[in-house]
Symmetry: C2
Subunit: 207 residues, 2 copies
């Protein structure tokens, strides 16, 4: 499994928003919807080996984590309204510290970045922080198929969050010469991992 | 200037559609909206050196080309409804064989793929066809900053269209081991061009 964590600093924490206004009334929920799309869709199917964790920090009840699990996911189409609708349904449930499923493959609970990072660390997962000042990911030899990637939203990542991430991360990675939106970064990360996977398969076939 | 051409086989050719149902009633217009996003947005601004040409082939009046010009573009936000709304406004204009501007940086006219390809050929532009069977774009040494890239939609590219493209194209390129949505391919193409640009700048600085 690969895991993507996206922090939505303004993303609403109630299902009481309109799918017709994901950027405005839902607190830039459109960004998170596009991250769901880019992390999960292939041309002919879905990436089944991926979890996307949306950390929602907006009003009125900050600190909820919604997890989209590629293996079990159903009812998701590529458009923003579709992922927005599944997020809305998740937020309509009562969130507790324990995950509960709102629709197939979508889970919600209370929590924030520190909780998530703690769990990944306990499971000895390699955590990477995506930032334009990082090392070019094409030069990183340690990228594995079970890596965890942490990304900000339109507001980036706060200083405090950055401290929390860097304390446990295996490194800071950059995706190229220009700074891109988080959903765009995910595409480039996955392309790199697809290429690493292909090389490994080819070298195994040769031996 | 770099140019992206995306063929929308079912994309509606009237502005009479709902922004609440871009995938359904608008004939998978959501795909074209996401291509606009990935071709034009940077984290802190817009790619000004890009044209996106949407070739709309759906009912009721097939054969319209909408061009988004990064240099002049205004009023575009990253969400699907925003580009959908600019497309809708363009389609509400009477289209003639000559371009007319609907909103700043958005142009519409009658025409199809052959017309566009003819114009690029006349201007000695290098045209690339994006397809999973193509050569890995990381191995292509000829990619220039004024290349033209042709992509299909959810239906791919018809046999006839492929013939028309291949007759004038400089090559067929693949973006990696897996087949991806067109909007995702655009991100990978632009990342590769960003990297080529950076290398050129660095080598010029050294000499």
């Amino acid at each position: 499994m690969k895991d993507f964590v996206i922090i939505g600093h303004k993303a609403l924490t109630t299902g009481d928003f309109s799918l017709n206004d994901l950027p405005g009334s839902a607190g830039r929920m459109d960004i998170l919807c596009r991250c769901i799309n880019t992390a999960l869709f292939l041309s002919h199917g879905m990436r089944r080996d991926i979890n996307v964790h949306l950390v929602l920090l907006g009003e009125p009840d900050p600190g909820k984590i919604i997890r989209f699990n590629g293996e079990q996911l159903r009812y998701l189409s590529p458009d923003e309204r579709s992922s927005g609708s599944l997020i809305k349904k998740a937020l309509e449930k009562d969130a507790t510290p324990f995950e509960s499923q709102s629709t197939p493959g979508v889970w919600i609970r209370r929590g924030g970045l520190a909780k998530l990072l703690g769990e990944f660390t306990e499971n000895n997962r390699r955590i990477y922080y995506l930032h334009e000042d990082g090392e070019d990911m094409r030069n990183t030899s340690t990228l594995s198929d079970d890596a965890v990637f942490i990304l900000g939203d339109h507001m980036g990542v706060t200083e405090e969050e950055e401290g929390t991430i860097k304390a446990v991360s295996a490194g800071t990675l950059s995706i190229g010469p220009l700074s891109l939106h988080s959903d765009h970064c995910i595409i480039i990360i996955l392309n790199e991992l697809d290429r690493i996977g292909q090389k490994q398969t080819e070298s195994q076939a040769e031996t």
